[in-house]
């Protein structure tokens, strides 16, 4: 729906959601979001608006008149809770888009999350850092290094001023700084930052957690680019092993659930869902990381069969978890082929076992 800025009521300035210029278009669904052009509306729709459109109505509408103080406070609280949920949603979406390599689309989501975060926590809060980091990463992906550095510097400054900042945030910050330096070609500095990332992530989650594996993966990429293949190889192996173990655990939980009678009730269901600890961003990360390693391994001339088999098996399990049975089977078959004649019996046995599970899945 088109608008004319001149016909706005006096004192009301409607600005574009993305670029903060005077708006000429209004979203026809929620009627609370404005854009300067169709391109921006499209970008926002693809990036984040699609998901949050209906939720924005409540947040942006003018407050209704509430006669009692109690009710006003109640509404305030509800709004705050909703905004927090929005922060989480937009951030996860942004992160997921980043892992899928759609940096352009990640920007609106990150902007949205930053806006909500400022709204809830204020300008100098540590809570803003994750949004800055997503923005920074998106900018790196888009090749806008100066802009990325600005965002990351902002984030780093906030972290430095907040001594009680959690290790998880620190780890993310250092990971992004590492990526920035890697993009700039300053490999040594990049390695230093990634090392810091791994250290903090290990402090928070332990050395062999999937949230730590990201640091290893980026480090491996840097070594790969430096041509230090032996180090990169060892790191890639570590990453695939971490993912492999994690996925194996999830698959075990999933395939075990049918043993429990379904009549028991909601408690059992809840438990199994908690065990399936892969959120959207992590799923995207797994797909990206494992496929990258798989490609690398396939083109590696002197690879060990075991490495390739393990990656294949991990991918098969991943697609199984994502309910893409077709792909899961494809990779499972590859894993069987490569693990044949391998001395590691344990691996081939689990692969075969897993394939059996796949078969039952199709018939079921």
């Amino acid at each position: 729906m088109t608008l004319n800025p001149l016909s706005n009521p006096k004192g009301v300035k409607l600005l574009c959601e993305l670029c903060q210029k005077p708006a000429y278009i209004q979203c026809t669904k929620c009627r609370v979001t404005y854009y300067c052009s169709v391109e921006h509306q499209k970008a926002d729709w693809m990036g984040i608006h699609q998901k949050i459109c209906p939720m924005l109505i409540e947040l942006r509408q003018a407050a209704p008149f509430l006669p009692s103080e109690e009710e006003r406070q109640k509404r305030e609280k509800q709004l705050s809770i909703k905004k927090r949920q929005m922060i989480d949603l937009t951030r996860t979406t942004g992160q997921k888009l980043l892992f899928e390599g759609r940096h352009e689309q990640a920007v609106p989501a990150a902007m949205q999350s930053l806006r909500f975060a400022i709204d809830v926590h204020g300008l100098a809060s540590i809570e803003l850092v994750p949004s800055y980091l997503i923005l920074g990463e998106a900018s790196i992906g888009l090749g806008r290094l100066n802009q990325a550095e600005e965002y990351l510097a902002q984030a780093q400054w906030t972290v430095l001023k907040t001594p009680e900042c959690s290790n998880a945030i620190k780890s993310k910050l250092y990971r992004n700084l590492g990526l920035l330096y890697a993009a700039k070609g300053e490999y040594d500095e990049s390695l230093r930052q990634l090392a810091d990332d791994i250290y903090h992530a290990s402090e928070e989650f332990g050395t062999s957690d999937i949230r730590t594996s990201g640091g290893y993966f980026h480090m491996a990429n840097v070594f790969f680019r430096q041509g230090r293949m032996d180090v990169a190889d060892s790191l890639y192996r570590e990453v695939s092993e971490i993912w492999y173990n994690h996925l194996l655990k999830i698959v075990h939980v999933r395939t075990r659930t049918p043993d429990i009678p379904k009549g028991i009730g909601p408690l059992v269901q809840e438990q199994s869902e908690e065990e399936d600890g892969l959120d959207e961003a992590q799923e995207a990360e797994a797909v990206q990381v494992l496929n990258a390693i798989y490609d690398m391994r396939e083109h590696q001339p002197n690879r060990k069969a075991e490495d390739l088999a393990r990656v294949c098996h991990a991918l098969a399990m991943l697609y199984f978890i994502l309910y893409d049975i077709q792909k899961a089977k494809e990779f499972g078959r590859k894993a069987v082929v490569t693990s044949e004649g391998d001395r590691d019996d344990q691996l081939s046995r689990t692969v075969v076992e897993f394939m059996k599970v796949l078969e039952t899945q199709r018939t079921a």
Partner: protein
């Protein structure tokens, strides 16, 4: 900005943090995770033990810079080698670390590295298991130090199995692996046997047999002798005197060959005991005399004292009181010169008993005689307690026998006591008697007769 932030943070961060960063920066992620896990393990242990424990105030690994540096150096070297699939280099680096922490007294760390050493040896090929044998040896001795003897024995067995076909493997100190494995196994089985001897005597005997077999195989004569001695004693205790004697004699032979006077003494002593238990007192006396001889010539005062004591006991039970008193007094004198309170008291009592036995016959005769000179002598004896019963009476004039009012009662009372004592004292004085002697004064010569 980059170098600026780097230099600042290197002052800001803890030593451990910087060390980890250095390792990670060069891609040594395995070393990092191992070190990290070790530090975490120690911290968890500390929390588990709580603030009252000794460990709470101990300096933690993460603050011990020298150790951290050492760890970093060898771990990264090991990882470097691992990347090149050079497993024996990995083994050596881990072994170095284990040795280092052994020297600093960090048992848990040296255990960890010995264990990982052994794991590494799974991957080493081309040396026919030599490193693997070493690994088993190290883990075995680490477990032995921890007191986990059964598990240690398992590792030593594995070590032995690897070493038995390769007699050409020689250690730095000239021992072959095979010999060392045998020695270790023999030692560990002896220890296990000692541990369970109270509860499971049969099993203990089995372990001792194993120990003896391995000692035999090791070719170390003294060790063989020692295990034979232990085995002999165990057999003796279980009542199989024949087998016991066989092993004990083997021990005696070994000691004779090596001129180990202490060992000969021990062997003779044990053999004598075994014979005594079988009732072959003559042989027992022979070996005890040998024991006395050996310990006299070797200046073994303690052994001599014991030998004399045992001989005294046997003679006492045989009724040869002359010899018994002689040996007991000898034992007593030696004990006095050594200042060993316990054996002084024991021998004092035994000497008294033997003495009393000796006087018994004369005393009885006098009582039966019942004439005046004999009564006078009895009274005289009551006064000064010296043994003059053997002396001929000056005038053999016969007087009418008086009714011996207190004396017969005394003799009737006294007769069973010495025989009782005899039975008890064949091996060792009972504690009851020892206690009694402490209260006694120097008039030990006829205590048992007079005082009771």
């Amino acid at each position: 900005m980059a170098s600026y932030s780097g230099s600042i943070s290197s002052y800001r961060n803890s030593y451990k943090h910087n060390l980890c960063l250095d390792m990670l920066q060069d891609g040594y992620h395995k070393s990092f995770s191992e070190l990290f896990a070790l530090i975490q393990q120690q911290e968890e242990e500390r929390l588990r033990q709580g603030p009252e424990s000794l460990m709470w105030t101990q300096k933690m690994l993460k603050d011990r810079h020298q150790e951290l540096d050492m760890l970093k150096f060898h771990l990264t070297k090991a990882e470097e080698a691992l990347r090149k699939d050079d497993y024996s280099e990995v083994y050596h680096n881990r072994y170095e670390l284990a040795r280092y922490f052994q020297s600093t007294g960090d048992k848990w760390l040296s255990d960890h590295f010995f264990n990982t050493c052994l794991q590494t040896t799974d991957l080493v090929t081309g040396d026919e298991g030599k490193l693997r044998a070493q690994g088993h040896d190290n883990v075995g001795s680490a477990l032995e130090e921890n007191g986990d003897y059964i598990a240690a024995a398992e590792h030593y067995e594995a070590y032995y199995k690897l070493a038995v076909d390769h007699k050409e493997w020689i250690q730095a100190d000239g021992l072959t692996y095979h010999t060392e494995a045998c020695i270790n196994l023999s030692r560990i089985y002896t220890v296990i046997a000692d541990k369970i001897v109270e509860e499971e005597a049969e099993k203990s005997l089995e372990y001792l047999k194993d120990a003896h077999r391995y000692a035999n195989e090791s070719g170390d004569r003294t060790l063989e002798g020692k295990t034979a001695y232990k085995l002999g004693q165990a057999y003796d205790k279980s009542g199989d005197g024949e087998t016991a004697l066989q092993y004990l004699k083997a021990y005696l032979d070994i000691c004779n060959a090596s001129k180990d006077s202490d060992g000969i003494g021990k062997a003779c002593d044990a053999i004598a005991k075994a014979y005594a238990r079988q009732g072959k007192l003559e042989s027992s006396i022979d070996y005890l005399k040998k024991f006395v001889e050996v310990s006299e010539s070797g200046g073994e005062e303690k052994g001599l004292s014991r030998a004399c004591h045992n001989l005294g006991n046997i003679y006492n039970s045989l009724g040869k009181y002359e010899e018994a008193t002689e040996y007991f007094s000898k034992a007593y004198n030696i004990a006095r010169s050594m200042g060993d309170m316990e054996s002084i008291s024991t021998n004092r009592v035994q000497y008294g008993i033997a003495m009393a036995h000796r006087m018994m016959t004369g005393f009885g005769e006098h009582v039966v005689l019942g004439n005046r000179p004999s009564l006078e002598r009895l009274i005289q004896w009551k006064d000064d307690r010296t043994d003059e019963f053997k002396k001929p009476f000056p005038e053999p004039k016969v007087e009418e026998p008086k009714p011996p009012s207190p004396v017969p009662a005394q003799t009737q009372e006294e007769n069973p006591v010495p025989s009782n004592n005899n039975a008890d004292e064949e091996e060792k004085p009972s504690s009851q008697q020892r206690e009694a002697t402490v209260e006694e004064t120097e008039t030990y010569e006829s205590t048992s007769l007079a005082e009771s």
